[in-house]
Symmetry: C4
Subunit: 212 residues, 4 copies
């Protein structure tokens, strides 16, 4: 086993992550989408094709997309379409030049944790668990929140809401939540983004089942 | 790994699905039954034999049944009997010519989700989660329900209740729930039916554990 | 894969069951014990040795015990001791000549389900789930209970309580529960006992998490 | 499969435990740390390097540390740093000469169980489950508690609090809990420590979900 996900060829790493997350119930059916910035062409990124079952991807189920203009730059079959949520990945890569990987999942715990707040909440306060260190927060009594966005059918509108909010107030955490939908997490490497997804899900699992 | 379940020989695909669902606790003991319409003879379908442990099926644990007349058309051993719930699969294939696969499971979350409604409910309202898109519903604030049927010992009576209700009012979702029992889900392909089972179970898991 | 557990050599089947149940959290640490009646010598049974981690058994971690007199008839090393709960298995084989396998596990759900009743309950009423059919109950609205026994340090005293109760009133179900401890399930074959454990755990999982 | 974890080379055993615990969600991201006393040099122990994803360790992700003086005695690469929580492992090896392995994990159930007590609790009372025997407690109605420590940023201060408390009052159980963080468990062998982690997590899972 290669030691880090980034030691794998990028498409193979995404296939492995998709199978792993599918097994955990975080990419049920064809849900979720995974992307990685292209090493040779950092103004573009590879993202999962739309509509493929995430437990059964192969190395050709990806398209390369221009970050600035949303153009399809490369794909392995003419019919392949990029994930419906590509616009959210684009905003993350535009806003955060240090982000090289972006992973979006759907989990039951994400939905349960967010549902325990008020319906119009714009943030999900995180409990002061040790695990928050894994998201880069090292304070004694951290009081941080996950930015919460409403879930609209119009995905580019969600992407635009993310852009406006994060441009006005850069996020403290490398993650955001869409209500009734799921988490999007980014990192400098695939391994870091993968680790952070595990940590966000640990915290959401706690919030989903906490007393009171 | 073949990319889609439908790239496998149909019996092999059903064996793989049964092992997968058994591992998740959706086919405990000998519970549940899986079927696929016969490609050569679309007026018939293959269904799991009765009484076999679902984690240990092999390619011969299936019988071919006539959709119109319920006759056993093919089997691999004389003693093999079709699943006790064959009549429900027949109704699905009769009512929905586009259905080519039908999967019935028993999950704890199915039972918990349905038990949180009134005892005489005839439908299980679904929460407005993003995941509902995976069942073909793309509205902004979807208000859809899973049809709920009582669990009678007399399985053909359940099948007849399904036929009457769906003939009067075609279902919006490709799935139904039997109270205290489990979900039945269908699709145009094995892969689609499999994906939809995952999505129904995601939603039932949410309903089983939602606050309030 | 052999189709049924009983197609395996009995010790190999018990090793496989132990690894399976350990993976599910039903045999944490060295918890639980598994036995099978000896085919050649039906007045004796093989049971797991005491103190072995259940995820890492091998074919020599078993002893053969006389059903009538509790004598060790066969073992693979001098130091091997039979499970501390051997006396409970003996009572099951004595009372139920048709029982050829007996499986005892510890699950969190067993403990949670029993803890939701009154502290001095002597039975655990089961909900009317379809799954109860897998325990041999085929009524329309089944009203059956799992016999509940207190958990004493003195295991032979538990065994004696089981004997007295089941002699006075033969059990309706092939299973019993020890409070704060776990389920014991038996069957005519290893496969049947294994299937029934899965079904009991399905029902306990429901009871542990049911609303109200 | 070697029968016991201690039959493996120690680094290989720790790699296997880390992969196992990661799969269960007890070492999400890079969380947790595992150590084993060095057989040749019992005044030192090997501990996981800091910052490695625990599902993907290899045999070189360990450093040897002096128990008395905290010195790094051996490592496989110059940049490797010992786990941030090395000081807690040191205290355990100092206080308990019979301890040869020490495993620290982060679990959602640990956090939930501890959160159900009062915020300033210094112990977590354990329920009288049979499983407590696996921690060496064989009383009829055991009334034991897991020592609970606050979670400070200053890990050596936690280690010092453990030393003072356990020097004043030797612990009854081979385990302790840090609030909002996770369990630390030790044993005479890797296998015993591993078994005890499973048992502590069984009990925490019960406490996290118990009624009332």
């Amino acid at each position: 086993m290669p030691q880090l996900l980034d030691d794998l060829q990028p498409h193979a790493a995404l296939v492995e992550i998709a199978r792993d997350f599918h097994r955990r119930g975080w990419m049920a059916g064809t849900a979720g989408n995974l992307s990685v910035r292209d090493g040779q062409n950092p103004a573009s990124f590879w993202i999962t094709a739309s509509g493929q079952p995430k437990g059964r991807l192969d190395d050709h189920d990806f398209l390369r997309i221009g970050i600035a203009d949303d153009r399809i730059l490369e794909r392995f079959s003419d019919g392949a379409k990029p994930s419906a949520e590509t616009s959210i990945h684009r905003v993350i890569y535009q806003l955060f030049p240090e982000a090289n990987a972006c992973l979006h999942i759907h989990s039951v715990e994400d939905c349960l944790a967010a549902a325990r707040g008020a319906a119009d909440s714009t943030e999900l306060p995180l409990p002061p668990l040790e695990m928050i260190k894994g998201l880069g927060i090292w304070e004694e009594h951290p009081a941080v929140s996950l930015p919460l966005f409403p879930n609209w059918q119009d995905v580019p509108a969600i992407a635009e809401a993310i852009r406006q909010r994060f441009t006005a107030t850069p996020p403290v955490l490398p993650a955001l939540m869409i209500l009734g939908h799921g988490a999007t997490v980014w990192g400098q490497s695939l391994q870091q983004a993968y680790n952070r997804v595990e940590i966000v899900e640990f915290i959401m699992n706690y919030l989903a089942h906490r007393p009171g």
